[in-house]
């Protein structure tokens, strides 16, 4: 289904871009009609204003040829007014005494010229100020929207990709996926039998027809092999074994990797999108609330940047605290109901946040939203675990993680565009709508009662001590996992949005900046994971990735904090570093857990690992907020980055020194 989904999205994108071009051309035509008269009026005002100024200078007896500073005055006007191509002072014969063109070069083409006489006393020769209008202004107005429009189109295609399961429905999706998988395998010469497709309809029938052909080959092969066995023909048996290896005869494939896990993807994606929409504006909005609260005397001894971090910490702390507890709760409630409850809580949380006045109510609503987020996250993760056998767990979790990452790519830029146009309150309401939509999708798409497996709590606290007592696991958790999350949250969720606001960037620009990290992750994590396994160098990838991610902050050295390109470079470095380390880190947890916490279940080791990560998330905003208040953006980022580098270095040296006795990863095992 993957290739069909990609092709469908590409087709959709092509259709959308073509329509967008048509709309944009139509808008340019209409904009010309609306803006044209206004540009002329403004040009007339500009000419009047300059003519009056020149008239005053002439009245003081300054000759027209010696009006010092007129060129700078004209240059300023042309630079400030993008609808102006040139401005000139013209002599009695109409020849320019002084003319200044727009900064992007001389423009002989104009859509019109507006002239105003310079007021002069008596019979002095007439002078005029003329303004040439830029014929491309309307086109420029629309073309500046193209970045936003292109992002909207891209996001639409991605959303279509995510929602295709909803459109097709469980049975049809499975049937189409089954047909595509069979055709793909047949074309590669892989004739292993498939799990049967139960869906009715045309694609279900086609899948069964393909199965029937494959089955005939298997039956024929079994007969020939039996005959060979009976006859004791060794050469024939060897040839048949080769045939079996080549075509996978007599073998059966497991269930499709994603399978029923796909049902959770749409509601999870939509809820995560709701949260990601808030990324560009949230720190700035909270800081404004914090400053207002401090203006009224609350928390007056604290730095505004630190106070601004508190509501963000409330959200992340609730997520961290709830996750270990909600595993059992969502199991008892049922995964679908848990997602629906999470969606409903998110709907209330986001919508109420739009109207929250004051820091404390806002922080309380963020905490409430964090509870909804945790319900959705844990419920969806539990659904993946319920719906997959251990052999399919990785591909099931890949569906889960990619939904979150794709939401991370799409949410910030769209959130920024929305905030620029409908404000913070409007964007919170849109987030609320998305949370509500996730509720609806969970109810419509997910099965009513998933296969619930009886199990204990995700983390048994007595196991926590055993895990932490292992130096390897403790080093991995506290030198790698936790700093990585502090770094991510401090940079992407807190420091960069605030700095972009300080630089006067639009929310849309901030949103585009925040796309860098998830895009790098989406593109590179699978390749880095494969390389770390192939080279059996998980510890090296974790240490190297941590060093690179931390070092990214030093892109801000030497005044880089004022340069958006350097900030983008920092986020790129963070993405590259964490793409290197994230999958290797997860694999290493399993490796070390098996070796050093043998009596603790793998589930518990991973549960504790996630808890440490979430704690790092929650620590990110207050750490970044406190440092920002004390040292400013660049130094705060470099301190956090430097600390992360130090942690990664210590871990790397320990891994190197103890290898292979203790810390060496049996990479491919995990």
């Amino acid at each position: 289904m993957r290739s069909l989904r990609v092709r469908l999205s590409a087709a959709l994108l092509a259709a959308l871009l073509a329509a967008l071009l048509a709309i944009s051309f139509e808008t340019v035509r209409r904009a010309d009609a609306v803006l044209g008269p206004e540009i002329e009026r403004k040009a007339a005002t500009l000419a009047d204003s300059s003519a009056a100024l020149i008239g005053k200078a002439l009245a003081l007896g300054i000759p027209a040829e010696r009006l010092h500073g007129l060129d700078q005055h004209f240059a300023r006007l042309v630079a400030e007014n993008h609808d102006v191509a040139w401005i000139a002072l013209e002599g009695p014969d109409g020849a320019p005494l002084q003319i200044v063109y727009a900064p992007d070069g001389e423009r002989t083409q104009t859509s019109g010229i507006v002239s105003r006489p310079v007021p002069r006393a008596g019979d002095a020769p007439p002078l005029a100020v003329s303004v040439g209008l830029d014929p491309a202004f309307a086109r420029e107005v629309v073309s500046t929207l193209w970045i936003d429009l292109a992002i909207v189109m891209f996001v639409t295609a991605v959303v279509a990709l995510e929602l295709i399961y909803v459109g097709l429905g469980d049975g049809l999706y499975a049937a189409i996926e089954g047909v595509e998988r069979r055709l793909h395998n047949i074309s590669r010469g892989d004739l292993r039998s498939h799990q049967p497709v139960e869906a009715r309809g045309e694609f279900g029938a086609l899948a069964r027809a393909l199965d029937s052909r494959i089955e005939k080959v298997h039956v024929a092969y079994a007969q020939i092999r039996d005959r060979a066995m009976e006859s004791g023909d060794r050469a024939a048996r060897q040839a048949l074994e080769m045939l079996q290896d080549r075509f996978g005869l007599g073998q059966m494939l497991g269930a499709a990797g994603a399978g029923r896990v796909m049902a959770v993807r749409a509601p999870l994606f939509v809820f995560m999108l709701a949260e990601e929409l808030t990324r560009p504006f949230l720190p700035g909005h909270v800081r404004a609330l914090a400053q207002a609260a401090q203006g009224e005397g609350a928390l007056s001894g604290l730095d505004p940047a630190f106070v601004a971090a508190l509501p963000m910490m409330a959200f992340l702390a609730v997520v961290a605290a709830c996750q270990p507890l909600l595993g059992g709760v969502t199991e008892r409630l049922g995964r679908r109901r848990s997602l629906a409850i999470g969606g409903a809580v998110g709907l209330v949380g986001y919508a109420a946040s739009a109207f929250a006045e004051g820091l404390v109510p806002f922080a309380a609503l963020r905490a409430l939203t964090g509870f909804g987020f945790a319900m959705v996250f844990v419920g969806a993760q539990g659904y993946v675990i319920d719906s997959t056998e251990p052999a399919q767990r990785s591909s099931g979790m890949a569906v889960f993680i990619s939904a979150i990452l794709v939401a991370g790519v799409c949410g910030p830029p769209v959130g920024g565009i929305l905030t620029d146009r409908v404000g913070v309150e409007g964007t919170f309401l849109v987030s609320g709508l998305f949370a509500g939509l996730s509720l609806l999708l969970a109810w419509l798409v997910m099965p009513s009662a998933g296969p619930v497996r009886a199990s204990g709590p995700a983390i048994r606290w007595r196991e926590f001590g055993r895990v932490i007592a292992s130096p390897s696991l403790a080093a991995l958790f506290f030198l790698c996992a936790m700093p990585a999350k502090i770094l991510l949250v401090a940079f992407c969720f807190f420091l960069v949005p605030l700095q972009m606001e300080a630089l006067g960037a639009t929310q849309a620009a901030t949103g585009r900046m925040l796309m860098i990290y998830p895009i790098v992750m989406v593109l590179l994590v699978p390749a880095c994971a494969r390389l770390a396994d192939r080279w059996r160098a998980r510890a090296g990838f974790v240490a190297g990735g941590g060093l690179l991610a931390g070092a990214s902050a030093f892109a801000l050295l030497g005044g880089g904090a004022e340069d958006p390109a350097r900030i983008a470079l920092m986020l790129l470095g963070l993405g590259l570093g964490q793409a290197l380390s994230i999958a290797a880190l997860s694999g290493l947890v399993g490796d070390y857990g098996r070796r050093h916490a043998g009596e603790v279940t793998e589930g518990s080791v991973y549960g504790i690992f996630r808890l440490v990560e979430r704690t790092g998330n929650a620590l990110g905003p207050p750490v970044a907020g406190a440092l920002l208040g004390l040292y400013g953006f660049a130094d705060a980022a470099m301190i956090v980055g430097g600390a992360a580098m130090a942690c990664a270095l210590v871990f790397g040296l320990a891994a190197l020194a103890l290898r292979p006795a203790d810390l060496d990863a049996k990479g491919a095992e995990g």
């Binding site: 959709l12 967008l20 139509e26 500009l46 629309v142 459109g167 024939a236 040839a239």
Partner: protein, 213 residues
């Protein structure tokens, strides 16, 4: 295939329709912002020029309330621009001293939230650098709203054909892709189709265990 189309195409149509509506809105809001910026800049220039003249007169020791020629200047400026409702010069207490609309003289200037007009203002600076009054240009908000509403209608209506075409093209492409997959599957499910299954069958058909003994 009709059932398949009936199930899948509404989803595609909804997604494309939503994207087109959003694109049209972004186009509209871009032009609206440019339109309002042009008017704001023009009104700002008018207010700034008058404030500069009044400030210069203040510098020569003529108090704002005594600058009698201002009334005529304001009327002349307002007359040439159909969008201007009034140009007022108010003292530091907010009372209007001169106006292009004489009925407003002596009234209290309304705060921004209580006046439906589109407003642009500039401060008149006294000899000591402190503000001694304000020039306020009030523009016809209703006319501007009507222009913006017309623009919105035109852009959105202009987007309808393109949007419908995109919906049709997107659905057609989706249907084509699904049809091609179905056609491939039909061919592959036919017993005589020459593919890797046929190759495996051929290799097995030629297999003679007894001949290899």
């Amino acid at each position: 295939m009709i059932r398949l189309a009936a199930r899948t195409l509404p989803v595609f149509a909804a997604i494309i329709g939503f994207a087109m509506a959003l694109a049209a809105y972004l186009n509209f809001s871009g032009v609206r912002t440019a339109y309002l910026d042009l008017i704001r800049a023009r009104a700002g220039m008018i207010a700034g020029d008058i404030a500069a003249d009044a400030s210069a007169a203040q510098g020569f020791g003529i108090r704002l309330a005594e600058q009698r020629t201002l009334g005529e200047l304001l009327a002349r400026q307002a007359a040439v621009d159909p969008l201007i409702l009034s140009i007022d010069v108010a003292g530091p207490d907010g009372v209007i001293l001169f106006s292009s609309a004489p009925a407003r003289v002596g009234e209290q200037e309304l705060p921004a939230g209580e006046d439906t007009a589109f407003r642009q203002q500039a401060e008149v600076i006294g000899a000591l650098g402190a503000p001694v009054g304000e020039v306020l240009v009030r523009l016809d908000g209703a006319t501007m709203d009507a222009t913006v509403a017309g623009l919105r209608r035109d852009v959105l209506l202009g987007a309808v054909p393109a949007g419908l075409a995109a919906v049709a093209a997107g659905c057609l492409l989706a249907l084509t892709l699904l049809s091609r997959l179905r056609a491939r599957a039909r061919r592959a499910s036919a017993a005589e189709h020459a593919d890797m299954i046929a190759q495996a069958e051929n290799e097995m058909a030629g297999f003679r265990p007894s001949a290899r003994r």
